[in-house]
Symmetry: D2
């Protein structure tokens, strides 16, 4: 067992039989569907790099739990070094795949649960931590990919879960049985749910005492009965299905809606069941870890965008243009800001009672807040530098058409020594990185909306000490 190879991972995904729908049809073969495969390949890259020398040190380490080499994607951080390695691993991977590798949410859930189940047990004498630890060993030993089922559909956002007209708008327990629980609801934006072996579910928000049935956390295989993956639309989904005009030739992303249609969860897979007072803590920890993950992978994605913009400057004959260079610097500055803040969040992490290391939340949220605003700005800059063919580029099929193909190739040529095909490919990549909705929307909403980051920053900042310092200088208090 131990750390899987890419091929082992692919075969393990092939072995799953999930219920999945896309564009009105049920899918019989998830793995070989070109659109989903591009997403699964992105997760596969997390296995691949574990075996590439350059990246290995960031990805592979020894788990103190099972005393065996594991992928860091299965390891709740047990040291500052682990926290830092997560960021660097994610930056390398973001650059390597140019999109989302889809494996961080699972790790972020494992990390949060490793802290909170311990805390719940301390207070209530439950054994969630025991359940969780067994599950974690299983994940580590089999190098599994997991998905985080966090975001509920929410119905009317002005109402709390138990106040909703339809009580299923937040996932909840509909039956408690001897052998386990039955849950109902739906989780949305389930990045990589079909690239994952396991689906981990946690609450999406703080809960009140009347929301008891909604305070539930657990893990189940992604092909569990009653679990339905519905892959929605993204802007460029048909390109992969058509096998044509694909910008990122290797990887992509998809994010199903996941319906839990009365799904059974055995007790040993239940990690929270009714403890409403820990719901905010659990989702808060997850979100903070997830914001740190973004700081790594998104700076890696900007790296890739910088590379594409610079390459098009080479191809277009604009690599001496000073305002283009200024825009490249603006892009680098944004990448380093995300990276710097979340690296600092990691170095400044602290050990929790359960032993897991937790990041500095203010710095992690500072990073994510930049992402929400600056990634769209980085995209705008990339488009500005690259030129207008981010839209309207004729199809590869037009380039192959006997009537107009040669004419198009003639006219799409940039500088003399660069094959026109390369210029076309690079424009396609820019289009993908700029306009693939599965990616760009999560820059804004992933890990909670910007307002959530802001609220967290304020709540976690010691404002009283700042007032005190000001009063001392003003001569009001000493």
């Amino acid at each position: 067992m131990g750390v899987k190879t890419k091929d082992e991972y692919i075969e393990s995904i092939r072995a799953l039989k999930p219920t999945a729908y896309m564009f009105g049809e049920q899918l019989t073969n998830v793995l070989d569907n070109p659109r989903l495969r591009a997403g699964i390949e992105a997760t596969a890259a997390t296995y691949e790099v574990a075996n590439i020398e350059k990246y290995k040190k960031f990805v592979v380490t020894t788990s103190p739990l099972i005393n065996e080499p594991v992928s860091r994607f299965t390891l709740p951080p047990s040291s500052i070094e682990d926290l830092v390695a997560r960021v660097k691993m994610n930056r390398h991977l973001g650059n390597y795949v140019g999109t989302c590798h889809q494996r961080c949410t699972g790790l972020d859930c494992l990390s949060a649960l490793s802290i909170v189940t311990y805390n719940i047990d301390k207070k209530y004498g439950t054994d969630y931590c025991g359940h969780f630890t067994e599950f974690l060993k299983y994940v580590q030993k089999n190098d599994l990919a997991a998905n985080a089922g966090v975001t509920d559909v929410k119905g009317d956002r002005s109402l709390s879960p138990h106040e909703q007209v339809d009580k299923d708008m937040y996932l909840h327990i509909v039956e408690r049985r001897d052998d386990g629980i039955v849950v109902r609801g739906a989780k949305v934006h389930q990045t990589g749910s079909l690239s994952s072996h396991e689906i981990i579910v946690i609450p999406t928000r703080a809960l009140g005492k009347d929301d008891q049935d909604y305070a539930v956390a657990f893990a189940i295989p992604s092909d569990t009965k009653g679990l339905i993956h519905v892959i929605g639309r993204s802007t460029l989904d048909m390109r992969e299905l058509d096998g044509c005009d694909i910008g990122n030739t290797l990887y992509s992303k998809y994010c199903p809606t996941l319906i839990f249609d009365d799904v059974f969860v055995p007790w040993n897979r239940v990690f929270m069941c009714g403890e409403t007072d820990f719901a905010a803590d659990l989702v808060g920890r997850f979100s903070a870890f997830h914001r740190q993950s973004h700081g790594g992978c998104k700076s890696g994605k900007i790296d890739c965008m910088i590379g594409a913009a610079l390459t098009l400057m080479d191809y277009n004959g604009t690599n001496k243009v000073s305002h283009h260079k200024q825009k490249i610097i603006d892009m680098i500055h944004r990448a380093e800001t995300l990276y710097g803040c979340c690296l600092a969040a990691s170095y400044e992490g602290q050990q929790q009672p359960s032993g897991t290391y937790y990041i500095d939340t203010v710095l992690a949220n500072a990073s994510k807040l930049h992402e929400g605003k600056e990634l769209s700005e980085a995209i705008r800059l990339m488009i500005d530098v690259s030129g207008g063919f981010v839209a309207d580029l004729p199809s590869d099929r037009d380039f192959q058409n006997p009537d107009v193909g040669d004419l198009l190739k003639k006219y799409l040529k940039g500088v003399d020594n660069v094959p026109v095909e390369n210029r076309i490919r690079m424009y396609r990549l820019v289009e993908k990185m700029a306009l693939e909705s599965a990616d760009t929307i999560s820059d804004i909403h992933g890990g909670g909306s910007p307002e959530a980051h802001r609220v967290t920053i304020f709540r976690e900042t010691d404002v009283e000490s700042k007032k005190k310092a000001a009063k001392r200088l003003a001569g009001i208090e000493s």
Copy 2:
């Protein structure tokens, strides 16, 4: 004759037989192709509103040239009132179609030519203005839509036209004949070329004395022999082709690459032929007019985005959330900034020697510079307010699927009194307005890249008088 109805316009487009390719295939019926039809409908809206009372006053006026009622889209501005009406007409239309109506570039070309052909004739004793005036009468009498062939493919951007390895990288004259000229080259991002009756071509940049063959302007029907329209990819092109998951149910945009494969132009349709010293003036005037056009229609598009975001606040139960309201204000502020600057540019316009009114270029460029940066910010704000389903929304076909359709409708419900279908439709519209590449890329590159606006602003500003004022106050000069 006179101002066409929408139906008359549609039929006039049906009568054309352009050569067009899309995704590797030649098209036999442009008008009924769903993707192109949505774009043609947007142009048709410019005819439709001419007959709607509320909008009529902005669109219909009397041409001093033919002394008949005409659409302002065929009228080079002959008064300040005309300049202002353009902006208001474009704002209304931007809001009405929620995308680009594609008819402004033609008007902007007509406006620029009405000034510059006169100036060329003054200097060189040519009769371009005569040719142009006859053409303009024809356009006005038949209420034709025209397209602006401005942006050349440009090859190696560090070289001027005549320095290119392939001399065809900028459209140029390859033969001068008794009855006319033959031209070769390609113009890209030809918004609405198939919604237009006429294609007007002007140079794309300043030219030197060795670029004489590139100093050419003319107009030809959009189905002229040798003219090839290649419709390229845009992010959401397949939605219209599939007839499914279309966000804007009425309108869209497309921008072909237009190849001039040795096209003949009769002399009476030639408006510039070798006068390199007027190339910069011609493209500069066009660009300034076009930046004013954008200030109108894009503020109208933001209006539409504000409406969509507010509607989703109603549907999601977030219409009381204060930070959402702040973001709406930020969006309004951006719309009004574009609008205010280009309205001022119009009110401050001045009559030119030919009689045409020209805008204040500094203010018009100030507006466009905001557009290039702030429209992507307005989109980001709309996405932030709307929520995550801007991506990943299941397909309409999933909603119709007997297995999962009802489950999806159950879970996609927002507030109680709004049909789930409406919420879904509004998310699709937001997706279209946020992520349709044909629109969003032109926010940045349309009317020239941001750097072009900046250079213009500096060149057109009287900096010496500002220095003088500072020196007086500093006591250096009186």
Copy 3:
């Protein structure tokens, strides 16, 4: 009579005997106090330019009320042309004085009162408009400068006027007599109160029915008994008092706190007295006019800042540096944005029932919202371009010191052909424009705080029509 000359204005100010304190001392001669004189000179410039050919057309016009030539600073706008001329006059003056000329608030009050007194009379059958019109004739005939007493001290901002512990925190009527009223309170940030002949008072906020005594508007001479002007500190106040190291050698600004210590106002000078339902309208109209005023004068001030930055580029040998030029463009862009939006607000103005023309409030507030953010950005850019001597420049007295004067002059030299004195003077001007608190704070708080502009923008925008447009496109409503 008629339009005063600068000298006549100065003498008319000398004739006033206001009660004024500064830095703990009562002043016996306001006019010849160097600090106040610099401010009075700025207002005097509004009289001076009325007699300079280049500016005359913007400043002098004929009043329809008295059928005589008047300064526009005494004229509520009676046409679109008047509204536009205000903006241009203010831009010219902002550039001419490089600071605040202090005469716009009076005009903005006159303009607001000319609309609202009419409306009150219509509803309540009062004769405020009659009182006001007589006052206005007097102002016009004598070309008086007026000051706007708007901002109350406000005490605890979470409480309304009548809820305050000390009822005097908002100016109010303490006695109603046969011959007039007695008022008590204090108005702060009274720009130019000692440069003004008259003080016009209006409420600072919306009032409820229990705030009746606070609904009061009136005008009194600036040297009325009981009126106390306390000139506060500004950052560079001692420079003028010391007569040394003054950046703007001609003009400055000051803004006293004005205490109304039981001041009597005769009935014919009372323009509102108890009509709480019109308080919001009155202050709202004033604010909207004032935000338009700012859009003019602050763009003129940025012009001056651009001139200073460009001059220092010449003096420092950096006038070829491309990133400096980019920053100059950024500054121009900001000036034109303020100007464009408030010019548009003027052109789009509409006549009110009283006959006065009123601006488009959304566009005026859009302009002011930019000012609040972008003026500090323009200052930052000016500092960046100018270099570090905006701070720390040795004193003129050091340059005159026999020991070190020559050494300093040697070392402060820039490019060879520019006298070192000029470079020093220009740095001082930049320091003044960047760091004079009397100016820079009003960029943010003048005409109400940024949040006030935002709230106004939202309130005055027709959001329902925007929703309707989005619903039509989404296929929800036709």
Copy 4:
């Protein structure tokens, strides 16, 4: 000796007899001049906190050079822990003094010299490192404060040092003697030169082979013969001299111009002499360290600004206002961004051949680039939240005036339970932090101008690897 107490430091400064001029007069007692004393107190705070338990761990450590406890302000970083401690020490101190403590530039020079003298010796077989190490021991043993003489006056910035008309525009060697060298020139913006025992001089820019005499580095006591300190103007300098209306009641900042009027430097104090090829390295290292210093102290200053704004919200009755809270979050976000990036720069530091640890320069410059833009934004937000009395607040002397003092105190009251004096004091502190030029200008120009940071970021970034990643994904290269 070892770590000095605050009193020992003050007495050691008293013992110096520097030549100093201010406002045209020579100073006989620097220490007791109120304006300079406030600055000296800020440096004294760096000694004070070394003896306060809470801060001690950040400030005091053991020097590996002398094996004794030393202040970190005398210690070139010899570990990652040292680099990180610098940032935290600076943040604490920035918050503690609310201005610049003026002791970082000396440390940054020591740190840079400890790396570069070693590198020069390696190449040229010189013994600068030996000189430097002796000097460093002396500094550490006596816990001395040092100042960095970096910024030359520069004359015509388009010319290199040897091209200047006046060869003294960059400090240079005018004589080489047996016992040492004689130097001439001037260094400007010499923060804390009179709070320092030693002045360390290094070149300000890259030098060419013809600039040999300008490639000079050394250290001399601040009261060396021929060294003239000329204290220039800052915006609020007279407040301290008048002893009135001082915002920061404890600390301030001043930055003299320092003239080297043929100053003798003995050989054992010379650290570079003619090695032009190391000039860029030396100033580059200094600047990078200094940008890291800023990231610490300026985030500490923003902390203080946040505290002041929050306190005024309490005092004004606006502490429940949601848009104020949003602005506070914006300020926190800015502080944490500076801090996060420069903390990351420290954790990612690397050991240099000499043994000293050096920061990650891209991250350090990313931090400084934010400072240059965001500190002025943080100030704007503080002003917005605090309200208009940041300007125009009456003088303390007015509050004491028997005629108007009580009236002013009555009217300046905020919420009921806060003494009016406290509110006034807090407004004065805000004024100081917002508008003291000695501080705010250095936010922009300190450690080199923004363009210098940008150029560094680009130069230090591996752009080729980014291009490579993009090409792989586009399918161009594997």
